[in-house]
Each structure stands twice: as structure tokens, then as C-alpha cells.
Symmetry: C2
Subunit: 432 residues, 2 copies
Amino acid sequence: MSYSAETIELLEKKGAVEGDTLSVRSRGRDHRGVLMPHHEFSHPDVIVIKLGNGYNIGINIASIDSMEVLEKAGNRYRPTGEVPPSDNEKVVTIIGTGGTIASYVDYRTGGVHPALSSEDLVSTVPEISEICSVRAELLFSIYSENMDVEKWRSLAASAADRLDQGDEGVIIPHGTDTMGYTSAALSFMLDSPPRSVILVGAQRSSDRPSSDAYTNLLSSARFAVDADAAEVCVMMHGSPSDTEVLVHRGTRVRKLHTSRRDAFRSVNDRPLARVDIEGGIEIISGCRRKSSDKVRLRDAMVEDVALIQFYPGMDPDRFKDTIMSHSGVVVAGSGLGHVSSRMVKLLGRAVESGIQIGMTSQCLFGRVNLNVYDTGRDLITAGVIPLEDMLPETAYVKMMWVLGQTSDAGEIERMMRANLRGEISERREIDE
Amino acid sequence: MSYSAETIELLEKKGAVEGDTLSVRSRGRDHRGVLMPHHEFSHPDVIVIKLGNGYNIGINIASIDSMEVLEKAGNRYRPTGEVPPSDNEKVVTIIGTGGTIASYVDYRTGGVHPALSSEDLVSTVPEISEICSVRAELLFSIYSENMDVEKWRSLAASAADRLDQGDEGVIIPHGTDTMGYTSAALSFMLDSPPRSVILVGAQRSSDRPSSDAYTNLLSSARFAVDADAAEVCVMMHGSPSDTEVLVHRGTRVRKLHTSRRDAFRSVNDRPLARVDIEGGIEIISGCRRKSSDKVRLRDAMVEDVALIQFYPGMDPDRFKDTIMSHSGVVVAGSGLGHVSSRMVKLLGRAVESGIQIGMTSQCLFGRVNLNVYDTGRDLITAGVIPLEDMLPETAYVKMMWVLGQTSDAGEIERMMRANLRGEISERREIDE
């Protein structure tokens, strides 16, 4: 749906176009803000204004007493591909990969397309140039469901290169679908990075009134420059409104809502930090400090690892070929890390054939414990590796990486169970 | 670890055994409650007392000024297999299946075993006989990871039989690992039950000081009798302490923590009701009302359905045989319901071979939407059925059931996308 004839007429009469700063009087109140593009789901008689505090309000034109254009749009909401120049000595590189954050709505089809270049993207957030000098490069432009090991390695190499050249940080706008997997992959590949590598996404494309792209990007630049932190992390809204952006450890973060702007959560750990809308930074967990060290890039990964969720009724005969054709399998078991007796036998046979089997929990929150019930002890006997409180998705990525580092079975088990990148917490002495 | 010699000596001197009600004075305070069994992880010098409010406190014997046995245990904490007699006309049947709620800790091995009969279990909650007459039967005693279609059908038949004989409700103590899957299965099999069928579990075995078995069981009896509700539901702690038990709709509930007592949550819906520790019942969502109708048992299910989580790097060649050997597959896609381009092709080929493919999201919270991105539209074109805001686990169970009801492709799609048991919400007009 587009604007009604009346709305179009009003906007034309006032000479107002998307991106212009308007003053609008409605129901006795004055609103000042930027006219946002019409959204496909919006009412034809409603215009949307982005206020100075970041909130959007919708105003029905029937309620408008007066409207005035205060400032023309310029390039603010019309990406031109130019990165605003800056003489700031702190350089941050933005490596584009595609995703909603770099996409736009095609108002003909209603679909969303990954299209904006990194320069386009940066030009929508001109405030970044007050924080740092931005280098923008586009590594690829894909839907993140098409991420794979090769692309993770290419990202890790680019990030390592930029950090070695002295960048204050690297920001990677990324599709939210698999951002948690990529952040885990980069966490393992980039051993002790000297400055932060920040994955940042958006749940709404940057040309939509409710987009979180602007705030997330701006906050990530602030965190890269202003925080004494050297972490591989994910930055996304911490609440449904534009009030704060959370910094999640790359191995602990999971997308837990399909559409909310605060879809990402740290699981089994607190977030690393919080950046408020004014740029204030609160460190929540201890972060690694910045240094001038070179990056140790350890990007070897084995690709033939699987992630499989157990469910009651799962038929081992039908899963045998899939499991047996991988070098490693991470199982998201039920509860404390269980599978049916029939599946225990299959996993045991897989271990006998030299396949690494790791156990996590489909509960996501909490820790596996294979010492409580018979099923767990049978799994231990079968040679299954309990993976503590690691996310199934992180365990999947970690196993690919561990199998790329060593082929020694004892060392594989030791590394899988060790806390290498903050992906595992120490067991607490007291039950929760 | 067991009690220290000093602790054993003190308890023997006072003649106090597990289950006795004690008065203990320590650090200037008087505590009155029931002496709990020594827990394997507890300090050897600490005794644990269950207070009247349901909380447990640990008291180091070094701090004890005086101790007195107020009341001997009787059968309260020593299951005898006898269900307390009651002349209450309202009958509730408790159908045992095993699980932590009906298990005990073996203090020799430290392991937990499913062993208590339903009578044993009921006898640990004598207060139930003030609420209703209890019939107890043991259908089987298994770890719930070994649940399958046959056992779901047997449970559904037993529950239907008891409701048809006029029971006020049926309570099914069940292992928590797969309780959400069973509650979904019973929700579909029992069409419009006239009274409630309540699955109830415990995260700590009933002989442990911190067990939630007692409160959950007692609350489930109260809800079955006192609430005008006819729902298939799950009742578990709503907070870490013994303050409230939540009633979750059977198709909307998921275990989201491995060990916390409040591990179960309603996903994409509010709980049905809340039962407080005093037995007060608050209906949160509209519940179906009780009736005197007969149960419509529709227990046909097809077993060869799979649940598969998509992940980046997933190799269609290695999953082909598994997917192609099932009649239906529910995919937990990324984000709004996506898979990689390579997996889209495999799913398309599966649909062409007559396999039903349904799409849910591994985000768990929120709704799939295959109309936003190209990947989603490709999936629609490939014939994949978008499953709205249904949990992946519920969708898996539902597909088994739908394929048992009809083999007409159009009808399968219609039923999968329709809200039959509260498993799908209407799409809201406004974005969240």
C-alpha cells in the first residue's frame, strides 16, 4: 500500500520529501523530526516522523494542523556511496557482507534486497565520522544463511589484516540469521585479537522507519573506539526501543526471536557491555584490554561436522548415514544431554568409527550433566564428549575448528571441554 | 559424601530421622520444619530443614544451640505404596510414566533412578487426599527420552478412558526431558477433552531437599479439581522458589533450562494460568470450560517424520538420505525461516518426491515469514509450508499427527497452517 492521494497532495504542497526535517503540529502538539519513507504496512493516511530521541511517531494527516519543512534531506537518507571524510587518526574498517543491515525494501515487490555497499551504509550514519575515520570495503553481499567456512576464513583474514595495520577496530555488518555462528567462528579463528571485531546487524532494513541499523552501527563505532576492549562480539539492540545496544560475547550469543529488534541474547553468560543511546559505555563482564600485539590467525577448520537435535521418536536407522558421513557431530540432546537408548547405540558405533560426538542441550540455557542419569552414564561410556554449558551452535563451530587444529583424539576432547574463548563457564559449586 | 560422625551422633542422640518435624535453635533463631534426606552434594556437617513455607535451609551443626523432635515422620517422606484413602467424590487419576518426579537418588552410586510407583509418589503428597480421591496407575516407568508414538498413544488412550469414566482430571507425572513433546502429542490426540489432562514433572527428584515434585503435584491436583478448565497442559514451577506453579498450554511449552526448577516456559503465548502456593488459581488466558462430553480420541500418527535444524555449512549431500527417507520433515530454519540456497534445492526435490516439508524457526520466539526475503520466496516456490509461530518441536509432533489423519496434500497443508490446538497465534496487524 502506498500513500493516499490526500497524503501525497499534502506532502507535495509543502515540498516535503523523505529525509527532510519537518515541524508538524497535530492535536495541539509540535513534533520535529525526519520524514521517514512510507512503509508498505503503514496506513495510507499516516506519515512517520523520526524524532530526535530516535523514536518514530505516526501522524494521521487528518490530525495535522500545520506542517513546515525545516531542513532539506541532503544525503542523510539517500545513500550516495561516499564515506564522509574525516581527519580522525583512529581508523575503523567496516567490512560489508550483506544482510538486512545493508539492504533496502523494494517498494514494488515488498521484498527486501541486499544491495547497499559499505559506503552506502556508512553514509547513512554520518555521525560515525565524528568518532573515527571509516574505511569501507565490501567483501561479499549475501544472505547470511549462505555463510560457510570459506567465507568465515575470508572474513577472519580481512579482519586480521586490518587489525595488524593498526585499525582501532573492525566492524562487520552481517545478516542476523547466522550472525551467532559467524561470531563463534571468528572468535576461534582470531586468537587474542588486539582490538575488537564487532559483528553488527539489523532486524529492519535501513530505509524502514523502525530500522535499528543506524543505532547499532553508530554504537558499534563508539564501542570500537571508546571502550578499552579487545573482543570478538555481536552488538544489537538490548531492548525493543532505541535505548541501549548490548555487546555480546561472540561465543555466547544466540538469535532468540525472529523479528524483534532485541532478538539477540547472551546465553549462560552476561553481556560484555552496554552502550546507551548517548554513547555511554558500561562494561558488564571483564573484557580483554586493547594491545598492539599482532593477530594470531588460526583459521583451519574441518567442514564435515554436523549439528543434530535429538527428539523422541528419532529413528537411528534413518540418521545413520548422515551421522556416519561426518567427522564430527554435535548433538543437541534433551534435558541434561540425553538421547534415546537406540540413539545411544548409534552414537557409540559412530565413536567406534572415529567420529567425534559432542553433547549439548536443546534447552540452550543451563549445563549438560551426563553423571546424573543412566542415559548420561551410558553416553559417557559410549565415548560421547559432554560440552558443559556451551551453546549447540557454538559447539558445532568449535568442533569444526578443533578438528582443524588437531587430529589427536585426546587433544580433541581436551580442547572441546576447555574454555578457550569464553564459550564455557566454570561449573559452580552450588546448584542454582 | 555422607553426614560426618558428629552429625550422625547429634541426630542419633536426639532420635531424629529423615521426615521428622524438628525445632532447631541456631544463631539465636528458631527454625521449625521437616528434616530432609542428606544430599550427596551437601556438606557433611549440614542438615537441611524444609520450612513450612516450602523453602529449605541448611544448618551447620556447629551453630546449633538446641534441637528437638516435635513430630515423628510417619509415612510422610517414606513412601509406602499406599494411597491415602479419601471419600471425596471427585476422582483424579495419576498415570505414572517414570521421570525425575517419580525417581530417587541412589546414595551408593549418586545416580538417580526411576523407581517410585504412582502410589509411592502420591503417598509423598498426602494433602492431595483433601482435594480429591486419587486413583494411581503405573503405565510404564521410563526415562522420557525413550518416549515414542506407541507410548503417546497408550497414554492418550488411558487418559481418554479415565475422562470418559468421569474423572475430574488426569495427572501424568512425566520426565521433563521430553514432556513438551508428549504434551503436544496428547494435545492433538485428545480432541476437545472435557476435563484437564495435566503433565507434571520435577527438576529434582522427590527425595532431594530442593525437589519441586511436591509443589508441582499438589498444584496440579488443585488445578484439575478447582479450575473450570479443560486443557492438555504442563504444570511446572514459575519461579526458582516455591512460590507459584504455571500452567502452560500443551502445544506452547518448551524446556528452556537444563536444571532450573522454572525451566519450562510458554513460547509465543502467555501461560494459561498460575497456581500460587496457597492454592489460589489465576486464569491468565482463556481456558476451555469443563463439560460432560465424551473424549474424541484421534490417535493416528505417522512415525517417519524428522525434525532438522538448519545451520550454515550444512551439507545437503550428507543430509539427502535422511531427509528423503521420511514422509515429512520439519525444518528449524534460521531467522524468519531460511536455509542456504543449496538446502532450498534439496527441500524442493524432497517436496517433488511427495515429502511434506514444514518450516519453523530455530529462534523459537517469533513467527516465520517467507515473504520478506528472496530465500523465503524460493522456499514457498519449492513447496515448503511456513508454520507461523509454532514451536519446531510442536510442529514435528503435529506433522506426525496430521499425516496420520489425512494423505491429501492440500488438506495436510491446510491443517498444518491452521490453529487446531492453540499452537498457532493469529498474525497481529502491527509489528511488535
